[in-house]
Symmetry: C2
Subunit: 154 residues, 2 copies
DNA sequence: GTTATTGCAAAATCTTTGCAGGGTG
DNA sequence: CACCCTGCAAAGATTTTGCAATAAC
């Protein structure tokens, strides 16, 4: 378990969350959080489980799902459904509220950020009277690589 | 099979699509499209299958999935994943490129439209060099009803 | 007549659940 | 030492697949 500042912070947040809720602080739960914040990019439950299999706290898939649920609740991770039948997740501590472009050819995911999303949200709230807590914005298409591959074939 | 102009149009589009691809024009395929364009709002595969069970062309769930795939390809329907583990669909013929608000309490889905999404898309294309074909924008929160219910409890 | 498509059931995939045993508080 | 959490395996839920029978062309 390598030390870094970000990981220290999220461990602290998770600890507080568990205490506040009266949940137990088990090795398995911290091992999952540690693993998630040790890698970059998006992941799914299966790959997380596989990565942990060889580690000190190799745990069961049921516990992975259980812990994912807790981490979603305290907003240390985000859940995505990019169009496949399996959910993908990403860490979300202090990460700006970015959105995603997804390549429908190779599956690559690229992030971007644009303040206009806030404007759209405000307008939507006015017209529908919803209370909005979060949003999801995905653009689907071809990444530069797959775009030029297509051009070459044509 | 009630007649209406919209249904006539989508039947025509589907026919052309099948012919162009050399696919067969089966009763089952048209029955699925007819059923979809006979009802309003979003639906999932299970509910579509249930609705068709009692009709003339009651068909198997495998054929429903098969036909859904074709209708996605020719863009007569859209697929959504609103955060559950099951996909939901909606007809998409001549329906403006709207987006969605989803109530996380009761599941209600409300549509809205905002031209700023186009601006964001343009900016994202410039910065990432993606080719964008379509997008998905969901705002999650509480509908007016669930919002006031929450206020009453507090 | 050929061969794509259907229907059925079985399989595959992802996620949840029940329960006995173990670890946290 | 009470009882929440884990691990396992079984069950659920959704979607896909294999194959014989059927229907489109």
């Amino acid at each position: 378990m390598k030390y870094n500042k970000e990981k220290d912070s999220v461990m602290h947040i998770f600890t507080s969350y568990l205490e506040r809720k009266g949940y137990r602080k088990t090795h398995e739960r911290f091992a999952v959080l540690d693993e998630i914040y040790s890698v970059n990019g998006h992941f799914d439950v299966e790959s997380l489980y596989e990565m942990m299999k060889t580690k000190k706290y190799a745990i069961s898939i049921a516990t992975v799902y259980n812990t994912i649920e807790l981490l979603l609740e305290c907003k240390l991770i985000k859940r995505h459904q990019f169009g496949e039948n399996t959910s993908r997740y990403e860490k979300s501590f202090e990460c700006s509220n970015h959105d995603h472009l997804i390549c429908t050819a190779c599956g690559e995911v690229v992030e971007f950020w644009n303040p206009l999303v806030e404007e759209i949200q405000k307008a939507a709230i006015v017209s529908t009277q919803f209370e909005v807590n979060y949003h999801v914005l995905y653009f689907y298409g071809l990444c530069p690589k797959c775009k030029s591959k297509k051009a070459d074939n044509a």
